[in-house]
């Protein structure tokens, strides 16, 4: 048997938290400085929601890029403070206890815990403080210039098909035995991520992933809390 360490990979959205990046983007846009900015950016976030939904079951990279445009010209100070508020007031109510239990069990089994999220680092780093079992967090990062967000996401954008490629690199760097590792995810674009580990599990999957998981005979989990 291989002596290599193993890992458990979790996609945050849908597995650990029930809310996604669109809610965060709309929350942030609605709290911009100045009424005009608030209205404009909230409208922008709202308009990007259908596109995000449309692309949600396929490559979400473009959806993520569009959703995060509403951060444009927002100061880092405001984003950090609002992220704290968002986590405390909104996200803490959306945490899925069943997902946290999965985290706990994986940690107890000796796996390295890796969480992947489409959320921005300002939010996810704060959430991570609440999840005590996480060894590594990989999330989206906003680009800043002169203290203000440009509205662009730095590469690699988490949420698309890059997840699978990223996972291979991560396993090589940390010498992880993927064949004995676990992965939990719920979206179509996570197919590549799930297919690379020995123990994939589709959690609260969308239509695309549910269909694929059934065909691949992967375990399925559904929970709402």
């Amino acid at each position: 048997m291989s002596a290599k360490p193993t890992a458990a990979f979790f996609r945050a959205e849908g597995v650990l938290v029930s809310s996604g990046v669109m809610q965060a983007a709309m929350f942030m846009a609605g709290q911009r400085a100045g009424m005009r900015e608030r209205a404009l950016r909230f409208g922008q976030a709202l308009a990007s929601a259908p596109l995000f939904g449309l692309l949600g079951q396929n490559d979400r990279t473009l959806g993520n890029r569009v959703a995060h445009l509403c951060y444009r010209d927002m100061t880092e100070d405001r984003i950090v403070v609002l992220a704290e508020e968002y986590v405390d007031d909104v996200l803490s109510e959306k945490i899925l206890d069943s997902g946290i239990e999965l985290l706990r069990r994986a940690k107890a089994d000796g796996h390295r815990i890796v969480v992947l999220s489409e959320g921005i680092s300002e939010i996810m780093e704060r959430v991570r403080e609440k999840w005590r079992y996480v060894d590594d967090l990989v999330c989206n990062r906003l680009e800043y210039r002169a203290g203000k967000a440009t509205g662009k996401l730095l590469d690699p954008v988490i949420g698309g098909y890059e997840g699978g490629k990223w996972l291979s690199q991560y396993a090589a760097v940390h010498d992880i035995d993927l064949s004995r590792s676990f992965a939990y995810a719920g979206h179509g674009p996570d197919l590549l991520l799930l297919s690379q580990v020995g123990h994939p599990c589709a959690v609260n999957p969308d239509f695309t992933l549910r269909k694929a998981a059934r065909e691949a005979d992967w375990p399925l989990m559904d929970y709402k809390a």
Binding site: Q31, A33, G34, T75, E76, D77, R78, V81, E84, E85
Partner: protein, 572 residues
């Protein structure tokens, strides 16, 4: 020969040294005194010059040490031995910088002339537009009296605390130099002539107020007003009222005369003008008086010492931050302008470094102590941070739902002073509403509505008065927040690398977001805002009150200098 700066040890340099401190009851003076006593117990003797006479001065000093939270770390470190510890290191001297010979008695002055190594002159009047006589006496003549003392002393030098804003109305990079021949707007200037001119202005205002015609006019005015109210004023009553009015008028005229002169020469207010004049007069005596001018920028809440957030009184950013937490939204500020803020403990560390440089004869003439050159903080960022700080606070601690849900999200913004919703326009609008409610309501409306309108007009009238105050505050700060883009060079201090890490001056290490949100705003909320709201101030009461012992056995500077022990160890 190498030009590399020599590393200096603050503790070793100040060990056994005797320092005369003026302005010990002020914000900076108190923190510096507490810091030195806490961190450099091997200091020789600190002569604290306080106004008053005899036992009263000592009681005043005891009150400062027993009530100000600044001295809490010292009380906690020394507990029962605080009186002994302080009395061995401090001598309180009755005096007044505005008086010749610093108001000291002859014997004390002679003794101090022999003993004092360096004078730390923090005393000054920091009101922006005070009665010019008081500003002249405190800020200009005070500095001259200190210079007289230094000139006649055996070996003392002086560190004169000024302000970066002596630069006046100007834009750009402000270097660490004293401009001796012209004012900020380029008017030719000679220090002695300007001092004489100022005295002439004061004499002129005084003469005008003393003019019998002025008194006749005032008397007529008083009699008329009393008659309007149905009173018949007797001679004594009228004379008393005229006397009061004359004094009030004189103060107002003196304040206006100072402000007018300052503005005519390119300074924003009397404070910066008189501080600049003091520097110029000191510079004229630089061949006889060894001095350095120390110019802090806007001194704000402590980062660490005496504890994070310590602040007091009306400081520069306080009223602006306070405003950002009210319904008022448009703070007149130009995006990208610096508001040069520096924590008080950083200032006190820098003071100690420059004092050491002076003692070692290595000091430059001017040291600016700010952050804009090394860690730029634009005023629009500061406005947003203030709004975010209020948001964080009001969300959790707002007194009602309106504050928690609406006011917390009512962000203050940096805006052009001409913005349509500026404070002047709001005040005018509210004034018109008040006038309508009082006098413009139609005759035929029901009496209930009229009563309601009367009540409402009282509220709006009070609002107009508050807005007038806000307008005055904003106008006072406009030179710093909107009109000028200034960056103050702050490099002279780098010529003195410091051995002890805890004394290093490093404004570049300040992370503004955490400083503003986690240190400064909670500090203002705790120590300053109650004063703005006429609420009782929090005081400190040590378990064992400090008493200045009358005849402590002074340890000689030399003996202490060979026994450098940290304060905490001495406490044990």
């Amino acid at each position: 020969m190498s030009d590399a700066p020599v590393t200096l040890s603050i503790r070793e340099t100040l060990a056994g040294k005797h320092i005369l401190l003026t302005g010990a009851s002020g914000f900076v003076g108190k923190v510096w005194l507490a810091m030195v006593l806490n961190d450099i117990p091997q200091i020789g003797r600190i002569y604290v010059l306080l106004r008053g006479k005899g036992r009263g001065v000592k009681e005043r000093f005891e009150k400062i040490l027993n009530e100000s939270p600044v001295f809490k770390p010292l009380h906690e470190a020394h507990e029962g031995r605080m009186s002994e510890f302080i009395s061995q290191r401090i001598e309180v001297v009755a005096g007044d910088v505005s008086q010749p010979h610093l108001g000291m008695d002859t014997e004390t002055e002679a003794r101090l002339r022999r003993d004092v190594d360096v004078v730390l002159h923090c005393a000054g009047l920091v009101d922006f537009n005070p009665d010019i006589r008081e500003a002249l006496s405190s800020n200009v003549e005070g500095a001259m009296h200190v210079a007289d003392f230094v000139e006649s002393s055996d070996h003392a030098s002086v560190l004169h605390v000024s302000t970066c804003y002596v630069a006046g109305h100007r834009d750009g990079f402000v270097t660490e130099t004293i401009v001796t021949d012209r004012s900020p707007n380029g008017t030719p200037l000679h220090a002695a002539d300007e001092y004489a001119k100022l005295q002439e202005i004061i004499a002129g205002v005084q003469a005008e107020n003393d003019d019998p015609a002025t008194e006749v006019n005032l008397r007529e005015d008083v009699v008329r007003r009393l008659a309007e109210r149905g009173h018949q004023g007797d001679y004594k009553r009228v004379t008393d009222m005229v006397g009061r009015l004359k004094r009030k008028r004189l103060r107002e005229m003196m304040a206006k005369a100072g402000t007018d002169r300052a503005k005519a020469l390119g300074w924003p207010n009397t404070y910066t003008y008189t501080k600049a004049l003091a520097e110029l007069l000191l510079e004229c005596r630089s061949d006889r008086v060894r001095f350095a001018s120390f110019r802090p920028a806007i001194v704000e809440s402590a980062m660490e010492f005496p504890f994070a957030g310590w602040n007091e009184g009306f400081n520069t950013s306080g009223p602006l931050v306070y405003l950002a937490g009210t319904w008022f939204r448009h703070v007149p500020a130009a995006a990208g302008n610096a508001l040069d803020v520096i924590p008080v403990d950083s200032v006190c560390r820098a003071l100690s470094i420059v004092l050491c440089a002076l003692i070692r004869g290595e000091a430059s003439q001017v040291y600016q102590c700010g952050s804009s050159d090394r860690n730029f903080l634009p005023v629009d960022r500061l406005t947003e941070l203030s709004a975010l700080g209020h948001r964080q606070h009001l969300r959790k601690h707002g007194s009602d739902a309106l504050e928690r849900l609406v006011l917390s999200r009512w962000d203050a913004l940096a805006a052009d002073p001409e913005h349509v919703l500026n404070v002047t326009n709001i005040r005018k609008l509210m004034g018109q509403v008040t006038r309508y409610l009082k006098h413009g309501m139609p005759e035929k409306i029901p009496s209930e509505v009229r009563e309601w309108a009367d009540d409402l007009s009282k509220t709006t009238d009070s609002g107009v008065r508050k807005l007038r105050q806000i307008e005055d505050v904003l106008e006072m700060f406009m030179p710093f927040t909107y009109q000028h883009f200034c960056v103050f060079q702050c490099r002279a201090i780098d010529r003195h690398p410091v051995a002890e890490r805890e004394f290093r001056f490093a404004p570049e290490d300040i992370e503004w977001r955490s400083y503003w949100l986690d240190v400064h705003m909670p500090g203002l909320r705790r120590w300053c805002f109650p004063e703005y709201e006429d609420k009782p101030k929090e005081t400190y009461a040590p378990q064992t009150p400090f008493r200045l012992l009358d005849a402590p056995v002074p340890e000689s500077g030399e003996s202490r200098s060979h026994a450098p022990q940290p304060a905490r160890e001495e406490a044990g």
